[in-house]
């Protein structure tokens, strides 16, 4: 379970003060699929960064399974992210020069998974996204949809409990976008992992169990969940 309590995040000082998040609170049950919906600049990305410990809010707490990760030291947050979370981004961020295999291997290396146990995990993840024939291809030679599928493989290889997806279909056409959506929801359902999608695409948001509507750093509405 993820509890977000009274998060406040501001940028700048005095005259230029900009409030990105003002007193945001909600709870996400384990295994849920959640959409954080809002226009660009609404604070939805900041919310995702804060929930994953990448960003540090002025006040508030993010309690995951009973632990407030905002109080962790940098090392502990890093370790927590590498073992429990993963990310998918709009612009893929796959390493074009590396092979698909080595792209997927990165989270395992960061999490210090022993070498001998990596191979099966990597091949399984690539198989799950339908890239089993691209193991040795360089990521730059893949199409956009394949790159995002590779990113999904990289995100799920270490079996994270929480999967963040920041506009995962934003750079894809509807067909490949649908493939990626299916992969994400499939992982969510099969593994019982929490999926948090940041998007402005209402069609994608409607497929989620729960929708958090955000505007100007404030929660407008929560559909399908409980507002605290």
């Amino acid at each position: 379970m993820i509890e977000v309590n009274h998060l406040v995040k501001t940028y700048g000082k005095k005259k230029n003060l900009f409030t990105a998040l003002s007193d945001v609170s909600f709870t996400i049950p384990d295994g849920a699929s959640v959409a954080i919906v809002g226009k660009s600049g609404s604070g939805k990305s900041t919310l995702m960064h804060t929930m994953s410990g990448l960003d540090h809010p002025e006040s508030g707490e993010v309690v995951i399974d009973g632990e407030n990760i905002l109080q962790f030291k940098q090392k502990a947050v890093d370790a927590f992210r590498s073992s429990r979370m993963s990310f998918i981004f709009q612009s893929f961020f796959v390493q074009g020069n590396e092979t698909c295999y080595n792209n997927v291997s990165l989270p395992l290396e960061i999490a210090r998974v022993p070498t001998r146990r990596r191979r099966t995990k990597i091949l399984k993840a690539l198989q799950a996204v339908g890239l089993e024939d691209k193991v040795k291809s360089r990521a730059r030679d893949l199409s956009g949809g394949q790159k995002q599928r590779l990113a999904v493989a990289r995100a799920i290889v270490n079996q994270p409990r929480i999967l963040f997806a920041d506009e995962p279909t934003g750079n894809l056409d509807s067909v490949t976008g649908a493939q990626v959506e299916n992969l994400l929801f499939g992982y969510n359902k099969e593994q019982g992992a929490t999926l948090i999608v940041v998007t402005h695409d209402m069609d994608l948001a409607k497929k989620c169990d729960m929708r958090i509507m955000i505007k100007d750093g404030e929660i407008q509405d929560i559909l399908g969940g409980d507002r605290i």
């Binding site: 890093d78 073992s83 990165l106 999490a111």
Partner: protein, 453 residues
């Protein structure tokens, strides 16, 4: 992240920017090349110097002087020296050098810890003649050094440590060639060495007496320089050695013969019997004998080891100069690495952001960039050292021939331990150069980094 995984990723990252990596490491390669050569030349020069010393100087040998400026290479004193009755001074090349007196020499001869005390007289015969040849030659004459391993081209030399007979002379190979005679034809031929003794300044009474006795002619005879010729039989023609320290070809006669000739030619001079130096063989530990002589007789003593030290100092200085240029090249390459790595960090902002998002620690990200720098250093070092070694090994025979170092002696001696050490140092240099860019990468804000594109 495990160290091995970081090293592998660093290596792959570089492999993907081959041209840039190669060009950056070439800067280091220049320094590595020069350093490898200077190390090799130092090894070779030290080896060669050691061989020279071993072939020329008995490890037990001591070189005794009055004035340590003779052996220290500083030259004599050019200052005004205070006169003292017991320390006679001679003048060499415009500088004042204290000479050993007969007293000093006999003191040394009486010492129980020394044997074979040989004063180094500088004999300058007026002329030299060879049997069967009318021409007069000028040739230097010195004593036969029994401490050397002398090799005879013709005739025979005594066992090491044994002097030749007082009526014998040993001729260098070069003289045979100059005379146009086969070495073996010289054996048992005679050599006539003529010395001139400067006339004594006669007193007024002697002049008067001479004038009364024999008139003008008797006075002229009184101030006429006296000449004397010594006969020697050639016992051997010495083979020229590439490892000989004294490169000047000269005639060698026994130490007794040298003393006789010197006594005659210097007989009337004010500095008669004085020498710049004396060689001797220590009976026990040469450094113990050195201490004792310095303390008891107040003389300056150099052992074979000291001489090695002097030679090695010269080698070290030359080597240092070359190494200095190499270090300059390395410093230049450091800035090359810093520059390249900074650009690399900027290019890979989003990659760094992603790695941070996936939980890679700052420390590991810094390591990744430092290891990339280390790879560059390793590669550059390897290229430079390999080129230097390959080139050196290929050129060695040619250098040996040009410098007449003698068969089997090489100027460039490569030691793999040194090269490995050099590589380690270069890797460290590269890591230090990569420090700032690595720190920049580690401090990158992941949110900012992920916002790019």
């Amino acid at each position: 992240m495990r160290r091995l995984d970081i090293v592998r990723r660093a290596g792959r990252n570089l492999n993907q920017a081959k041209a840039r990596t190669l060009l950056t490491s070439l800067a280091i390669a220049v320094g590595a090349f020069t350093l490898t050569l200077s190390l090799a030349a130092g090894n070779g020069a030290r080896d060669y110097a050691n061989k020279l010393l071993q072939n020329n100087i008995d490890p037990q040998a001591l070189f005794v002087t009055k004035d340590d400026s003779v052996t220290s290479g500083r030259g004599g004193s050019t200052k005004l020296q205070e006169y003292s009755e017991n320390s006679v001074t001679g003048y060499r090349a415009g500088s004042t050098v204290k000479m050993l007196t007969r007293d000093d020499i006999s003191k040394l001869e009486r010492r129980s810890d020394l044997t074979q005390v040989v004063p180094i007289y500088g004999l300058s015969p007026t002329y030299v003649q060879f049997q069967g040849n009318d021409k007069k030659y000028s040739a230097p004459v010195s004593y036969y050094d029994a401490t050397l391993t002398n090799e005879a081209l013709a005739g025979s030399v005594p066992k090491p440590g044994v002097q030749i007979a007082d009526n014998q002379v040993v001729v260098p190979e070069e003289f045979a060639a100059d005379l146009g005679v086969k070495p073996k034809d010289l054996i048992n031929k005679q050599v006539f060495v003529t010395f001139t003794r400067a006339a004594q300044s006669p007193t007024n009474e002697q002049i008067q007496q001479a004038f009364l006795d024999g008139g003008q002619q008797a006075v002229a005879a009184l101030v006429k320089p006296e000449m004397k010729t010594y006969n020697y039989v050639i016992s051997a023609v010495l083979k020229k050695s590439a490892l000989a320290l004294a490169s000047i070809p000269q005639l060698h006669i026994s130490t007794n013969a040298v003393r006789l000739a010197n006594d005659f030619s210097e007989g009337n001079s004010a500095t008669a019997g004085q020498v710049v130096g004396v060689t001797a063989i220590a009976k026990g530990d040469p450094s113990v004998a050195k201490e004792a002589i310095q303390k008891q007789d107040g003389l300056s003593v150099k052992t074979a080891k000291d001489l090695q030290g002097v030679l090695f100092t010269f080698v070290g200085i030359l080597q240092g100069i070359v190494a200095g240029f190499a270090v300059l090249a390395l410093i230049a390459s450091v800035f090359g690495i810093i520059n390249t790595q900074y650009i690399s960090v900027l290019e890979r902002t989003s990659q760094i952001g992603l790695m941070k998002a996936l939980g890679m620690s700052r420390r590991d990200i810094a390591k990744l960039f430092r290891y990339e720098a280390a790879w560059i250093g390793f590669l550059g070092g390897l290229i430079g050292a390999a080129l230097a070694t390959a080139g050196g090994v290929a050129l060695n025979p040619w250098i040996t021939e040009k410098l007449t170092l003698g068969e089997g002696n090489y100027l460039l001696v490569f030691a793999w331990r040194q090269i490995v050490g050099l590589l380690v140092v270069l890797i460290l240099v590269a890591v230090v150069a990569g420090w700032l860019p690595a720190r920049k990468a580690a401090r990158l804000d992941p949110i900012e980094a992920l916002r790019t594109e």
